[in-house]
Symmetry: C2
């Protein structure tokens, strides 16, 4: 078992990472709680809810299972979870455990942030992707007009990350989480990036994964500690997400996994960086690795105007000009404003290039 | 114009108080904003929205009018306000102005706290009661099972308090806000209390009111600065509210004003204090003043068991025993646990006493 400590604005909290942690969950609690509500989804409940429940000795442990996927990040699920919390008699000394991936963490975290104006919550990520969302204190639900538009900054009381639970992940979820690891490495650690991009996803060991997840967490934590409120360098974490988020919204949440679209976004950021800074990035290396590891690199052509309009609704952009995180090289991020005219051209060219290589 | 500064956990912010402030709103902004959404209710919009809009020179000022009263603190209004904010193109550099009473402040503040994970908001209170809610950073909406159960701690960027707007208040709203002033004085300032309880509400001058509101704000700010998260002495602010909130919920929001029920709660707290500490408090003086100033002191008999069950659902109580703020004397508050048996007896006796005096 390894651990690291994250310094959030409001408090610092531990991240425990290792195998078998779910069998002794209570051991990693920072304090005792009057009652506990475990929020999880159907798949995770089937695999791991009994283990976690059994690991908690106290009597007042409740659980509630929410639907699978992004649709659970709705205002309706949010309200229903508040209803459950009230009905189970949770009070200000209670704990919410988010057992699952990023969706569970986001919605359960936002319920914890707003139940009686905030109670403790503990993240128990069960996906690779959730290593990313469990650091940084972002919790949110979706609005019908855009992702994560309703939310807070609310750091967990602890993160308990049992990497054994990652072995039951479907392959597209492994790809999804791994894309965020690639992103973190691209921002800050070229050795890690080279090591990530030479491994075959199918031969990834538990040990390897623990090491790399811990490195990813530390990169993200390092950025977030400097800039919790996203006024400056935290925006770098949006590398690959300007296009990724827009596509997620335009093609429908659940059409592809988040990280698979971020992977497309990384390729796009490479291309825009090359044009903006007149340099060459290892685009071919990334493209080839993604292809070999089964990332879907085709997509239906979407009118560039529609993509830009969606980007402008995204919370990361200012009202007028799109900001994108670009790379001046591996581990050299830079935030740039891209004019609509340039962006129209890049989006058109990028999509046509993809289509050609995939035809 | 007077002002004071409130130290919240996240930042400090100014409270400006005086007449005519609404004609130069922009002057009191702590910084400039990309766009502004004014949230207000129907009555306030009719009286003051044009003044405020005219006082803002920038082009991108939007407004949205929510329904009158507690029913606006619903999940539906909350979501609708997010929709408006998105449709008007608000971004992270935008401002929400809460122009109105406590309800507008609570719901607009909670929207600001959660829109894109938090943007600035400025309180412009137009009721006496809102002097209380505009300090302390509490923002919330109601759940069908209880008041203010969904919310955050989120301090405004500034409070701009135009006391001229208080002259258009209906008399029951004046009584409501004044009851919170009485409460603040009872907690910390016996001179203020004596002065408040010798004035006739009908002859209250603007100058008098400004002075007393500023004193009330400072008392509340003093408590909140020590204990923003309500773990300790902030609970004192619940004086009169244990019964007040339960009645509000049991008799229906809007049956009486908040403060009129808090006034009943203050009388009840006096009686319970007398029994718990075996002392005498100026109950008759308070009763007589409330009566003379038109506070409704009758109420339908409510089964004590129902009241206790409602109190236990209230966010201020621990799971098992009711905590009440009592007085060991004027300006000497103390937090006490009251057993269910004692509480049943006190609630029954208090209601019968009221009924007898009002028959």
């Amino acid at each position: 078992m390894r651990h690291t400590t994250i310094e959030a604005l409001s408090h610092s909290y531990p991240v425990h990472i290792g195998g078998d942690l779910r069998y002794e969950t209570g051991r990693y609690f920072p304090k005792s709680y009057s009652s506990i509500l475990i929020i999880t989804d159907e798949t995770v409940a089937a695999h791991y809810l009994p283990d976690v429940k059994k690991s908690l000795s106290q009597e007042t442990v409740f659980s509630h299972v929410i639907p699978e996927g992004e649709k659970a990040k709705s205002i309706e699920t949010f309200y229903q979870l508040h209803t459950k919390a009230i009905e189970y008699g949770l009070d200000r000394q209670s704990l919410i455990i988010a057992l699952g991936g990023g969706v569970v963490g986001d919605v359960a975290g936002f319920v914890a942030a707003t139940f009686m104006r905030g109670i403790d919550f503990i993240q128990m990520p069960t996906t690779i992707l959730a290593h990313d969302s469990s650091v940084g204190g972002k919790v949110a639900i979706n609005h019908e007009h855009g992702k994560n538009l309703i939310g807070s900054f609310y750091a967990p009381a602890a993160v308990i990350y049992d990497v054994q639970t990652l072995h039951t992940l479907p392959v597209d979820e492994i790809r999804s989480g791994y894309a965020e690891l690639l992103k973190e490495a691209l921002l800050a650690d070229s050795d890690l990036y080279q090591s990530l991009i030479t491994i075959d996803l199918s031969s990834l060991s538990s040990q390897d994964l623990s090491d790399k997840l811990l490195k990813g967490i530390k990169i993200k934590a390092g950025i977030v500690e400097v800039d919790e409120r996203e006024s400056g360098i935290r925006k770098h974490l949006n590398l690959g997400h300007t296009l990724g988020h827009a596509l997620e919204s335009l093609l429908g949440y659940g059409y592809r996994t988040h990280g698979e679209l971020v992977a497309l976004g990384l390729l796009f950021a490479f291309r825009v960086s090359e044009k903006t800074f007149s340099l060459e990035l290892p685009y071919e290396q990334l493209y080839t690795w993604l292809k070999r590891n089964g990332y879907p690199l085709n997509m239906p052509y979407v009118e560039p105007e529609r993509i830009i309009s969606k980007m402008k609704k995204d919370k990361k952009t200012l009202r007028t000009t799109i900001q994108m995180v670009l790379l001046k090289g591996v581990s050299k991020p830079a935030l740039m404003e891209i004019t609509d005219d340039n962006l129209l051209e890049y989006l058109d060219g990028f999509q046509k290039e993809l289509a050609q290589r995939n035809s």
